[in-house]
Symmetry: C2
Subunit: 317 residues, 2 copies
């Protein structure tokens, strides 16, 4: 990818199920200003909130940063986003009424600036490939282990989108065709083994006969694992098995230079990465293993917003 | 992809483990002339055979087709090919001594023409995307079900290569992390369920206590399945289960317009495709299923050679 050596800025918008993060970002990733607003998803007022936040950021720009050329608005959003059309192809009931919203057209009309929109994991991958763990890599697989499991792929320097923006749903890659049913329709998907929801559910199943032992959250399960508790160990070993199988397959499919893993569970660091790397080294072909690093995401909580903004230079110049 | 509407020609070379197919191909896929030579793999004389075949084709071109501009030489080859460097990154003992051969440099030096080399399934996918089942599709997943299972992916109009040409090893995607060990190091790979070798081996395991019942080949197993034999049905049902799980995952990963399946087993047609499509329709997300067709490869035995030649226009113009 090219570098953006100028001091121009863009507005980044990160639309999540509960909050929207806005920022004014310079081409080298420096954040001048940020703002967080509630999504108001239940009230179906997402777009109103998006407009309000952008207006706030524009005011700050006009008042104190107008010497920096404003290149456009980049949006990262929850849901399946159709990058080319700039619409929400599908959003779950987490944001009711959001499906089919023509976000790109609406924001373009309102602010008369170039606008780009992609899904949240794609913009995260973009940020990591520019300023983080995948810097200077042209072939990168990115996994986001949160409540669910998100994915994004950069191949030959470009994000994969697929025909209507659905590419990269790595959480719904089956690692066990005889495994439990997944919400997507398939069986034994990675998400069942490696998401917070999956980890929590499997732990509750294991301890169902011992109510006193039940966990309060996925984090709770992870803490029990770190303290050596048996049932938690059984659950997290399955998480590592599932992740190992999926990542070995992804290495065979993409032959990447780097696999970047972000999200809450990845913040565990070496206790997770050491056994995971060890397992992948036995599963993947040596000819492809030699080329790849398995590393945690490096950028913090603003990475989606920064990655969203970065689209403006990535596609607009 | 662009179209190539001129009457220029290229030399296509398809290097397999036992034979090498050469041809003189026009930009619209028309084959003017073909030639087949033995690979002489055991004698380690592959490159000599490649030179000899190209010289023969050049003679034909000079004598009777020199009014068609000759644009270059395109090669498709067995093994893991490093497309960018034009070398053999890894080849099994099927072609001893072939690993690390700088094919592109050697052929360029000898004939002083532009040369491109890629692996056999990638050039097959290129041919199908230009003239076959994936015509006009910019997002295509291609599976070749032969002795092993090969794969290739076209995303946003471009073949995926990965960092050293290894991308697309779909046969070594695990669909059952608790399944049997695969030669690649992983477990329950698609190749175990859907390759000729896998089908044959699993049938022999099932009938091991009944020597008279043992099959002579994968084709034999398939014929027994078509005639309703019980053990063969059990084996092919596992083939369909493995293919279904893998293709649903690939749809989630790539969000393609078309999945093209070639190779011996795919030639079965509807008896294979009908139950396979039916299974995938229950496994894949509706938002991505609506966009994709699952179809057999359309081009015949010369498709690798034609796809090899097509590289000359794909990358050279």
């Amino acid at each position: 990818m090219i570098s953006y050596p100028d001091d121009s800025v863009a507005i980044g918008v990160d639309i999540g199920g509960t909050k929207i993060r806005f920022g004014l970002v310079r081409s080298d990733g420096l954040i001048f200003h940020t703002l967080v607003l509630p999504t108001k998803a239940a009230e179906q007022r997402v777009m109103e909130q998006v407009y309000a936040g952008i207006e706030q950021i524009l005011l700050v720009w006009e008042n104190s940063l107008a010497s920096h050329r404003l290149n456009g608005i980049g949006i990262g959003s929850a849901g399946q986003i159709d990058f080319l059309r700039g619409t929400v192809h599908f959003a779950s009931e987490l944001i009711p009424g959001y499906t089919a919203t023509p976000v790109k057209d609406l924001v373009t009309q309102r602010f008369n600036l170039p606008v780009y929109i992609d899904n949240d994991v794609n913009v995260l991958a973009l940020a990591e490939s520019r300023f983080g763990a995948g810097m200077d890599c042209r072939n990168m697989v990115c996994l986001a282990l949160g409540t669910g499991v998100g994915g994004a792929v950069i191949a030959d320097g470009r994000l994969l989108h697929g025909v209507n923006g659905g590419a990269g749903e790595i959480g719904h890659m089956s690692v066990n065709m005889n495994g439990p049913a997944c919400i997507c329709g398939s069986y034994g998907c990675l998400e069942i083994y490696a998401s917070g929801t999956g980890i929590f559910n499997r732990y509750q199943e294991l301890t169902v006969l011992n109510i006193k032992k039940q966990a309060t959250s996925a984090n709770d399960v992870v803490e029990r694992w770190l303290s050596g508790e048996m049932a938690a160990r059984q659950v997290i070993e399955m998480t590592i098995a599932g992740l190992g199988a999926a990542i070995a397959s992804l290495i065979h499919i993409f032959n990447p230079e780097v696999v970047v893993i972000g999200g809450g569970i990845a913040e565990l660091g070496e206790p997770l990465f050491a056994p995971l790397r060890s397992r992948i080294s036995t599963l993947a072909m040596p000819s492809m293993l030699e080329a790849v690093r398995i590393v945690p995401a490096e950028l913090g909580g603003s990475s989606n917003m920064v990655g969203a903004a970065i689209q403006v230079w990535e596609y607009g110049m």
